[in-house]
């Protein structure tokens, strides 16, 4: 009798998980049965979104006590990508930022014509583009030594997230030709001088910011082996000798990608470029390296972490940086302005960390954290964002804190701290 009962209980215990699994699968199939036919969705040739922000910023100006001010911004971002014929495609992209803020934080109204170009593809393996194009090279996330067309491309920095900085920038007027073969491509770019200098006019296309000298670029990539697809870049600029670049991203294991981005070539130091008339600064052109290398690791719970080391051989080293910060204010300001315009590293070495967690705690909630750390003066910039996605909109809360000495890389930022709420709506 006891044996029979024990056998029955054992049978139930063994079969229970199977029954539970069957019930779960039945529930899922019942749910699928109730799914109605969805209306067909066709690709659209345009996308428009508005972004409204409201925040509070701690404004930091050298020699003055910190002040607090409320800021608001309304941005409109339009992208039109339309095929005019089977071979010709037109792309136009524009962003308008209307800021309610003090002059210390930047311009109030800024329109950025991000892209305006025609693309002609007479055959599958040939593409020719002409117009203002946002060309972006670089395998790294926080610093891109091979992103040669980044200089002067951002009229407004509305976020410190590197992705947002790339999204909001202007392209360069150029003629770009590309030929492709199986596993490889050759791209050639000619970007002529169109204007002498940047134009800060609110609605100006500001071609002088991106096309104030003649430049060219050639890149070639080829899949040499499985998991080995390097991209080589050559960049010519009438202001300096030819620069070389390399991009490589390789799979380390199922969850990790390693990347290396390097550029090098003979050029003046950034300090020499900022202070061309200074007797105390060598104007020699020597071979200088720039490097960004790191790893991205993704966990099974949708958390992606990127860590990078950044090196800029053209920037000032720790000793010169310390001397510059304590000597001439004019030299210091000139150097900072040049580095900001070139979106380059301020000093020789930096570290970068970015973690993004998709569907954190609840579905549709994304958390992102970013840290930039200057290894020479130990100043840092921290950025946090929580973003919730609705069907056609997003709400986000962003927090930024810059820390370090007054004259340090991040300590000198005008926006020492800010917190802002953001609402984005897709039309």
């Amino acid at each position: 009798m006891y044996i029979k009962q024990a056998t029955a209980l054992l049978t139930i215990a063994l079969c229970a998980p199977a029954f539970a699994a069957d019930a779960i699968e039945d529930d899922a199939l019942n749910l699928a049965d109730t799914t109605t036919e969805t209306a067909p969705v066709t690709p659209s040739s345009w996308r428009l979104f508005s972004e409204t922000t409201a925040g509070r910023t701690t404004v930091h100006q050298w020699g003055l006590p910190d002040t607090t001010e409320d800021t608001q911004r309304l941005s409109l971002d339009l992208l039109v990508d339309k095929r005019l014929s089977p071979e010709v495609r037109a792309v136009f992209s524009d962003r308008l930022d209307l800021n309610h803020q003090s002059d210390a934080l930047g311009q109030k109204t800024l329109n950025s014509v991000k892209e305006a170009y025609l693309s002609w593809q007479p055959q599958n393996d040939r593409v020719l583009d002409v117009g203002r194009i946002n060309v972006r090279y670089g395998a790294a996330m926080g610093y891109n030594p091979t992103d040669f067309f980044r200089e002067g491309a951002n009229r407004a920095i509305t976020s410190f997230d590197p992705n947002a900085i790339r999204e909001n920038r202007m392209g360069t007027v150029m003629l770009r030709g590309q030929t492709l073969w199986q596993g490889g491509a050759l791209t050639a770019i000619v970007a002529p001088k169109v204007a002498d200098a940047p134009n800060t006019g609110d609605w100006n296309a500001d071609l002088g910011a991106t096309n104030n000298r003649n430049r060219w670029l050639v890149s070639v990539s080829h899949q040499l082996a499985d998991n080995f697809n390097p991209q080589l870049v050559l960049y010519g600029d009438q202001r300096q000798p030819v620069q070389m670049g390399l991009n490589l991203a390789m799979l380390v294991n199922d969850a990790t990608v390693a990347h290396v981005e390097w550029s090098g070539g003979r050029q003046k130091s950034l300090l020499a470029q900022a202070l061309p008339l200074s007797q105390a600064v060598s104007q020699d052109e020597t071979f200088r390296n720039r490097l960004a290398t790191g790893l991205t690791y993704t966990t099974a719970s949708k958390l992606s972490i990127t860590g990078e080391y950044h090196y800029n051989g053209a920037a000032v080293d720790k000793a010169v940086w310390n001397a510059l910060r304590t000597s001439s204010m004019l030299d210091y300001t000139s150097y900072r302005e040049l580095v900001d315009e070139q979106l380059d590293l301020t000093t020789r070495q930096a570290a970068f960390l970015r973690a993004s967690w998709q569907d954190a705690f609840i579905n549709r909630l994304d958390l992102t954290a970013m840290l930039r750390y200057n290894l020479d003066d130990h100043s840092k910039l921290s950025w946090l964002e929580a973003r919730y996605r609705f069907e056609k909109s997003e709400v986000a809360l962003q927090w930024v804190m810059a820390s370090g000495d007054d004259s340090s890389d991040f300590g000198a930022m005008a926006q020492r701290r800010y917190i802002q709420a953001l609402f984005r709506y897709y039309f």
């Binding site: 199939l29 095929r83 991209q231 969850a255």
Partner: protein, 261 residues
């Protein structure tokens, strides 16, 4: 019979049984797997629209649409896919390229192409695309597991063969798969996908068989998440069309120029 003779006899029996077991011809599991692949995948380059309807705790939470362009690699026989996000609006125009274990993600907003790890790609809905557009026979070794009657996606009892697949190529996305196919025509009915740590990643039912590109093919997949059984994705396939996908498109450098009709 002396003791050592008996021992030798028993040893011989044992060895014979082992040899017989090893030599038993499998009812051609790999051929069944290939036939099952052919049911899911057209034999030439093709395009298909994929609509994903996501449910959490019984409530519809997300809908997305992808355009998928697939072409098999003459070298490996495996499908390469270029997936274009069509909806929701925030994702429109984003691209995902899968070429073996090379995954590239392209965002038209930043014009950036980023290499992804297989784990990173699994974060997005695009990963579900390869539940269908993948030639399992190329990356997995099949063994006959079990002959049994199971309820298919329409709760009809079907005589099925369970194929036990183990990863045999570094490009395999899953460590192990249990795939139930109809014993008569190798139509895939149900599958369970496992990770290296033997964690059930997803259960998939293949259903709504319809004539598409010359064959009865499943046009709906019901995907049940392995970790959270209340997360169900209904994946519908429509607009199957043979379409040329030029070789040169299937690489990172072409992604910024990709603009289908």
């Amino acid at each position: 019979m002396k003791l050592h003779q008996l021992s030798l006899f028993l040893l011989g029996l044992l060895l014979g049984a082992v040899a017989l077991a090893q030599g038993t011809p499998q009812p051609n599991a790999q051929a069944m797997l290939q036939a099952s692949d052919a049911v899911r995948n057209p034999d030439k380059a093709f395009g298909v629209t994929v609509t994903l309807i996501e449910y959490r705790n019984g409530k519809q939470t997300d809908t997305s649409t992808l355009g998928s362009y697939a072409k098999s690699d003459a070298r490996s026989g495996q499908f390469r896919t270029l997936i274009r996000f069509v909806a929701p609006t925030r994702d429109e125009g984003k691209l995902m390229l899968k070429n073996g274990n090379d995954f590239w993600f392209y965002d038209p907003a930043s014009r950036a192409s980023v290499r992804l790890s297989p784990q990173q790609r699994l974060m997005g809905q695009a990963s579900n695309g390869d539940v269908v557009t993948v030639n399992l026979a190329k990356d997995y070794q099949a063994k006959i597991g079990l002959e049994e009657e199971i309820a298919d996606g329409n709760r009809q009892m079907r005589r099925s063969t369970r194929l036990d697949l183990s990863a045999s190529s570094p490009d395999a996305s899953y460590n192990r798969i249990e795939l139930w196919v109809d014993s008569a025509n190798s139509q895939p009915l149900k599958a369970r996908f496992f990770s290296e740590s033997e964690r059930l990643l997803k259960t998939v039912y293949y259903r709504r068989y319809q004539p598409q590109l010359g064959k009865e093919r499943p046009t709906e997949m019901v995907i049940i998440d392995g970790l959270d059984a209340k997360w169900v994705t209904v994946m519908r396939y429509s607009d199957f069309v043979y379409r040329d996908v030029p070789e040169v498109w299937l690489q990172r450098d072409y992604l910024p120029s990709f603009k289908p009709e």
